[in-house]
């Protein structure tokens, strides 16, 4: 077991917490967080509600993570057993993000995003300067 300190936060203010985000107070062992986003931007406000699939290669192909079996001689010394923070102020937490007050051991986070822009007409090409 590696050495872990005690996190001490006096005040934490979070305005918005959405889309499977987490505030974790206390120690954890393993965190595995995944987020798939399909974003479709249109020139006009038009929403069918049945669009988009997660069959695209960006979602179906796995991102390779290195195995955690590397032996590594790390000696950590903590002169103080505390991490002090007086005030944390956060506007928004979204899309499988995590606020973690406390120690953990292994963290794995991944995000896969597909972004499509839908314009309704071809733009006039800008003239090249001479």
């Amino acid at each position: 077991m590696f050495q872990r300190r005690i996190s001490h936060v006096n005040r934490l203010n979070v305005d918005t917490l959405i889309f499977s985000s987490t505030i974790q107070l206390g120690d954890t062992k393993f965190i595995d967080s995944t987020n798939y986003t399909f974003a479709l931007q249109r020139e006009q406000e038009l929403f069918y509600g049945n669009e988009g699939t997660f069959n695209d290669p960006v979602f179906t192909e796995d991102i390779l993570f290195a195995p955690l079996d590397e032996s590594f001689a790390l000696n950590t010394t903590h002169t103080s057993p505390f991490i002090h923070i007086d005030f944390i102020d956060i506007g928004g937490v979204t899309a499988s993000s995590i606020i973690h007050i406390g120690s953990t051991q292994d963290v794995r986070m991944q995000a896969k995003i597909k972004n499509i822009r839908h314009l309704f007409a071809e733009r006039e090409r800008r003239r090249q300067p001479r």
């Binding site: 991102i63 103080s80 506007g91 979204t94 993000s97 822009r117």
Partner: protein, 59 residues
């Protein structure tokens, strides 16, 4: 290789963050490993110029 780290006192006044997004992590504490991956796809064919058609509807 022997890697020695000495963590001395940490005392932070205040942290102000606008947003934490897309599988991000704000960690106040210690950890052994962190693995992060992100894939963002917006290829040329993802720019659609055309009339009002539904994009890849579900079944």
């Amino acid at each position: 290789m022997i890697f020695n780290v000495v963590n001395k006192d940490i005392c932070v006044g205040s942290i102000k963050i606008r947003a934490i997004a897309s599988s991000s992590l704000l960690l106040v504490g210690d950890t052994k490993t962190i693995q992060l991956a992100s894939a963002f796809d917006t290829p040329p064919e993802s720019l659609i110029v055309g009339p009002l058609v539904s994009v890849a509807p579900k079944g």
